[in-house]
Amino acid sequence: MTALTNFYTGYKRELRWLLIVGGLVLALLLLQPLLVDKKVSRMMMTTVTGLLVGGVYALIALGIVIINKASGVFNFAHGLMMLFGAMLFYSFFSVAQVNPLAAGALVLATALMVLTMGGRDSLRNPRNLALAAVAVVVLTALLSVQISGFQLIRAVIGGLVGAVLIGLCVERFAIRPLIGQPLFASVLMTLAVSEIMLGLTQMTWGSVEIPLQIFAGLNSLGIPTPIRFEDVIDGNITIRTELVITFILALVAFGAFVAFFRYTSVGLAMRATAENQELARSVGLRVRFILAIAWGIAALLAMVGGVLQGGATSLSLNMPALALRAFPAVLLGGLESIGGALVGGLIIGLVQEWANFLFPGTQAGTELAPYVVLMLVLVVRPDGLFGEKRIERI
């Protein structure tokens, strides 16, 4: 018995990997009969589509991870932030001309929130005020300009400005007052924020689904929609261009944030703040500033995800439910891991599409397979694939 225990202790890591590899081989052997009459082209298409859909999940997961990384809070309002940001984008996209006063008010409010991220002292700095004034004038002019074909650029600018305002407002008025309180209070606060945003969305834009025609111009740019590959081995492969664009944007975002967290002082400070806000404050880190940045970034990502999803389908009150489906990706990758969000999203997308492919007529793809994979991974690695292992001292 002792020998067995010693063997296990000595080869614990190897045994675990053996178990994982064995499980995968067994799963493949079990699934093999299901693949017998399947076309290779369908398998290839399923794989590519799975990865691309996974890109959408990854983009959503990234926003959730950033908040968690900075503050330890699991943000249940992310789905509504997606919808709200996308609706703001739509508001700038769908009108011929934006009221300059409204545009100015939006930009001014955002500038004030940005200026006061770390406290009101910034308002006494003439350089900051001058920069803010220039930004307000330039952005207001850009949002108010009426040029044919400029809607998309205007909507991007308006969406970004609006999303930053949303993120900063949530942080300032809902999360910041809870600094130093148990994390659970902040998590509950995100639920409250979610409900408030739902109400505001309904009051402002109603509940009827809205088509968002952002991909309409792709053909005129020479980009095919969708992308088709004829006669690949034993059939055609079709890939939706919207998903490819989403995937590319997700990769770009990931690259940027990995660099941000690895090479910038703010990124490092965010990680420290997530560990212990009180301790971070005691060593001189500007916790409020860091939290504000994290919420601003998360809101930006949410807006981008919402716009891309809205363009691929439509803008509807169902959209927040998509964020719920990204939760397994977050947990799978690890709550604090940027790379984990990407890998988790891709795995969930792949598993979902392959389950739909192998088990037609069931909800295995959306309701079962991602959660089975999540459960199996968490059994082997409780902190997720790339999560930080926490050691609690008793």
Binding site: K39, R42, M45, T46, T49, L52, V53, V56, F93, S94, V95, A96, S148, G149, Q151, L198, Q202, G206, S207, V208, E209, P211, L212, Q213, F215, A216, T225, P226, R228, N236, T238, R240, L243, Q309, G311, A312, T313, S314, S316, L317, N318, M319, A321, L322, R325, E353, N356, F357, P360, G361, T362, Q363, G365, T366, E367
Partner: protein, 460 residues
């Protein structure tokens, strides 16, 4: 002489004041005459449904239709003088909220005489409870289980003003079998693709599969399921076409039929499969959403979708009810997205309520004597056509859903509004501020109204 004139004037004044109020409605609306004056009373339409979730596209225009109709009827005498009011509550699609709202309504004193619901799942949840509490419920359309219980043969207290979803797919199979327009393959095979849940799966039953098979139309035994939040459903569509489907039938609404149609276009399957769906699939919302996905013919992807149209539609402009509702929508500046299926149902619901209460009050003698049982008795025996838009009859209490149905197709108006566009070149395009165009969806009836097959368990 002066005294006589004074007496006449007083008599006239008194008669105007005291006689039962009479509605000044258009001539084509033929309500039963009021025998009891209800002036000073209030009759409330209790409605709770998914105002903020997946069904919001229905409930929002429905609320608009209710509001416009109530304003009009109240301005024209109400229900025998009684003012019509509404009490709307949002469930958000959450069964727990449905139960909570029902608990609230059912414990009111006095409890509602009748209520309005939407979701099939809500009907299934509350079927037993409304029966115990003796509160009849009006629902647009429902599942067999919600209206007839698990055995499919026990009429409850919930009444649907559209044919059962199973019966609707039966009508569609009749149409495919007859194929009067030579639209379908020689061996039509339906792939069922829908949302999960009571509504989405309501038309996929052993009875519908067997009935369609008898008509020579195969329904694949493996349906595909997707969620309203799905980004891509190409896998589900390909599963069905790989299995031989040449028709895709969906029991979804708003983005559901649109996503199916978009996927068919994206996969280049337009020549291989035809689209079909439940009555909600043939709606303005579906046509408008579809403008983001244009098919090879230059028209929105849902062009040509076929399905049930169990009532008159906006484009049937010779029908007085359609003219009247259009006038009301114009008067209230309702925009195109609001002029959908739900606005019609909301408006006609108020007209139906009016007739329902007139008949019930006439029979029981006063509004105080009206209760759920009295309303149910009227419902069982009523035979009425709200604004002439569709006929409501429950066959003396034997049925819980209307049976008259017809099949229609969605197309898009051509540039001079004289008919359907044949391609993007001759389509009516309304330019939008964002540089895109709106295509105007039009529904074209392909058959006359006829009873849908009874496809409840044990039905024929």
């Amino acid at each position: 002489m002066r005294k006589i004139a004074l007496a006449l004037a007083l008599t006239l004044l008194l008669s105007i004041t005291l006689l039962p109020a009479r509605a000044q409605l258009p001539d084509f609306i033929q309500h039963t005459d009021c025998e009891v004056d209800l002036t000073g009373e209030t009759i409330t339409i209790y409605h709770f449904g998914d105002i903020s979730g997946s069904f919001a596209f229905i409930t929002q225009p429905l609320l608009a239709g209710l509001a416009d109709a109530i304003a009009f009827y109240n301005a024209n005498g109400g229900i025998c003088g009684a003012t019509i009011a509404t009490d709307n509550r949002d469930t958000g699609g959450d069964p727990a909220q449905t139960q909570a709202h029902y608990d609230y309504y059912s414990t009111l004193d006095p409890k509602p005489d009748v209520m309005v619901l939407y979701a099939s799942a809500d009907a299934e949840l509350l079927r037993t409870q409304v029966e115990e509490d003796q509160i009849p419920v009006i629902i647009s359309a429902g599942s067999v289980e919600g209206l007839y219980g698990e055995d499919g043969r026990t009429p409850g207290w919930i009444y649907a003003t559209n044919p059962l979803y199973g019966d609707q797919i039966g009508s569609f199979c009749d149409f495919v079998a007859a194929d009067p327009m030579d639209m379908y393959a020689d061996e039509p095979v339906i792939g069922y693709i829908s949302w999960p849940g009571a509504f989405g799966q309501a038309a996929f039953t052993p009875e519908t599969i067997a009935y369609c098979a008898e008509q020579g139309v195969t329904i694949l035994e493996t349906p595909e399921i997707f969620l309203p939040t799905d980004t891509d459903i190409s896998g589900q569509v390909l599963n069905l076409t790989d299995a031989g489907a040449n028709i895709l039938y969906t029991n979804t609404l708003a983005s559901g039929p649109f996503l199916v149609a978009k996927t068919v276009v994206d996969l280049g399957l337009e020549d291989d499969v035809r689209l079909a769906g439940v009555n909600w699939a043939l709606d303005t919302s579906v046509g408008l959403l579809s403008r983001t996905s244009i098919g090879s013919d230059g028209l929105p992807a849902v062009n040509g979708i076929v399905g049930s149209l169990p009532f008159q539609w906006w484009s049937e402009v010779n029908q007085p009810g359609v003219q009247f509702i259009t006038e009301q929508a114009d008067a209230n500046a309702r925009e195109l997205p609001t002029r959908n299926i739900a606005y019609i149902l909301g408006f006609t619901l108020v007209d139906f309520y009016t007739e329902l209460y007139i008949q019930t009050v006439n029979r029981v003698g006063s509004l105080d004597a009206v209760d759920g049982a009295a309303i149910k008795e009227t419902m069982d025996n009523i035979d009425y056509s709200p604004l002439g838009m569709y006929n409501i009859s429950f066959a003396g209490g034997e049925l819980r859903a209307v049976t008259e149905n017809r099949i229609a197709m969605m197309g898009f108006a051509n540039a001079d509004m004289s008919g359907l566009a044949t391609s993007g070149d001759d389509a009516l395009k309304i330019p939008r501020d964002d540089g895109t165009n709106i295509y105007v969806p039009v529904l074209v009836p392909l058959t006359d109204f006829a009873p849908a097959p009874d496809l409840r368990p044990g039905g024929e």
